[in-house]
């Protein structure tokens, strides 16, 4: 491990990404950026959290994950996630339909991801592990909770500001101050939009392939998995208008299958406390059962990890995960030590009226 190199890398990438984000993209609303738990990363066992927190997918997200214990100083895990629905116009999607989508929630929240990570050597093996693992995944929220109860008051406030703007426009008066008021209120609505509460039911699936020697002709079938993640999210504070604290209780049931092996099952849960919009803290534990412990990693063992996530600015979030991973075939229980950045490009920057 080379801590200086690691810290240096984080500083360089943070600076670069901040520059890119500020030059190309507007601020991303609260809760739009999160640690990447795309299904592809989860299946590749490089996700910061094995139990995904339900979220609204951005139209386009890139993720880098760096393992602190790697000593080459560069991130080796990359992911792209796309939410196809939000790549095009939807004139039929009114505010009411968007806030209460019913079964359409599954379409609105559908996202597809692709991720890559280097192949790792099996403990004790002398075989050269060079090559890449590639994973693809999909996920969707079949049930997406309900909107925050404070939303109605903010929408009424925005409607009142719109009234004043229309009156001013009809009289030819300036609207600069009203426009700023409208933006403040709209951003407050966005903050609540990203913070749906109540029962949320997510499903996900994915598949990975190995490419030894980075040769396409050597492709080998890898693991596939399918899982369901029910969540209950509630506000942990009462009436104050500026209160955004939430608590998530999340469970996961996941079926995993390696080629020519029996299926294994993950059962676990995660709790997430988000005291404010910048910080979130979580703890997860997952038990893996079934399969064959002689040939499959992680069978009949636990993964327990804590995670801290901090929003550096509106476009960037930094996160770290530390804990104990599933047991390896040789019996060791690897340390989980991840540091990562998430950069959002979902709300595209270009303004082109009509």
């Amino acid at each position: 491990m080379n801590p200086l190199k690691t810290i240096g890398w984080i500083v360089v990438v943070t600076t670069f990404a901040s520059g890119v984000a500020s030059a190309q993209a507007p601020p991303v609303p609260i809760d739009d950026l999160r640690a990447p738990t795309s299904p592809a990363f989860v299946l590749l066992d490089v996700a910061p959290a094995s139990v995904e927190r339900p979220e609204n997918p951005k139209a386009f997200t890139t993720s880098l994950i760096h393992t602190v214990t790697q000593n080459n100083g560069l991130p080796q895990n990359y992911a792209l996630e796309v939410a196809p629905y939000w790549l095009t116009y939807h004139p039929e999607l009114t505010f009411e339909k968007y806030q209460s989508p019913g079964l359409m929630s599954a379409i609105h929240s559908l996202s597809m991801s692709v991720a890559t990570t280097p192949m790792k050597a099996t403990e004790g093996s002398t075989v050269d592990p060079s090559g890449s693992r590639v994973g693809i995944g999909v996920r969707s929220n079949l049930m997406n909770g309900r909107f925050n109860p404070k939303l109605g008051a903010l929408v009424a406030e925005l409607a009142g500001i719109h009234d004043k703007i229309l009156d001013a426009l009809s009289k030819g008066l300036p609207i600069d101050k009203l426009e700023a008021e409208a933006q403040t209120t709209a951003l407050a609505i966005q903050a609540l939009d990203a913070q749906r509460i109540g029962f949320i039911l997510s499903v996900a699936a994915g598949k990975i392939w190995d490419f030894p020697g980075d040769d396409f002709t050597t492709v080998k079938d890898g693991r596939w998995g399918v899982w369901v993640t029910p969540t209950y999210r509630f506000l942990t504070c009462g009436e104050p208008d500026n209160c955004r604290a939430t608590f998530d209780a999340i469970a996961v049931v996941r079926a995993l299958r390696e080629p020519d092996e029996d299926a294994s099952w993950d059962f676990g849960g995660r709790i997430v406390w988000q005291p404010n919009t910048e910080l979130s803290l979580s703890l997860e534990t997952v038990r893996r059962r079934g399969g064959d412990s002689e040939t499959q990693e992680g069978v009949n063992s636990n993964r327990t990890a804590g995670m801290l996530e901090y929003r550096i600015n509106a476009d960037l979030s930094l996160y770290g995960t530390f804990g104990q991973d599933f047991k390896k075939i040789a019996g060791s229980k690897p340390l989980i030590s991840l540091i990562g950045l998430n950069v959002g490009f979902g709300k595209t920057p270009q303004v082109k009226a009509k």
Partner: protein, 117 residues
Amino acid sequence: MPEKVTTNDTYRVGNGDVFISLAIGEGQFGTSDVSIDGTRLVRSSGSIGGLRVGAGPRVKGKDLKVRSVVSDVSTMTDRMSVTYRLNGGQGTKSITAKGKVDKAGKMLIFETTFALS
């Protein structure tokens, strides 16, 4: 001053009543004024369904103007659209005006005028 999306179109009326509906899409929130030759018919937030503009012969030659203020309240997209649908005249006309804000939470003003002929 916010960006403005301006659209001009025509609609041929008949002898019957003319109606207009509008929908603000992309999950965004907006408020609209509908007026004819400068006289406001209605102001409403969200969608407007089947608003009677007037009898065809009476509104012929007038301008039907819709001004909408739409705010970016969605975390999912910066896109905005307003769809107008006119009927009661010679056929049904539906058009969609589209735009996009450059910063989260900003607003666009959509101004669409139908010359009723």
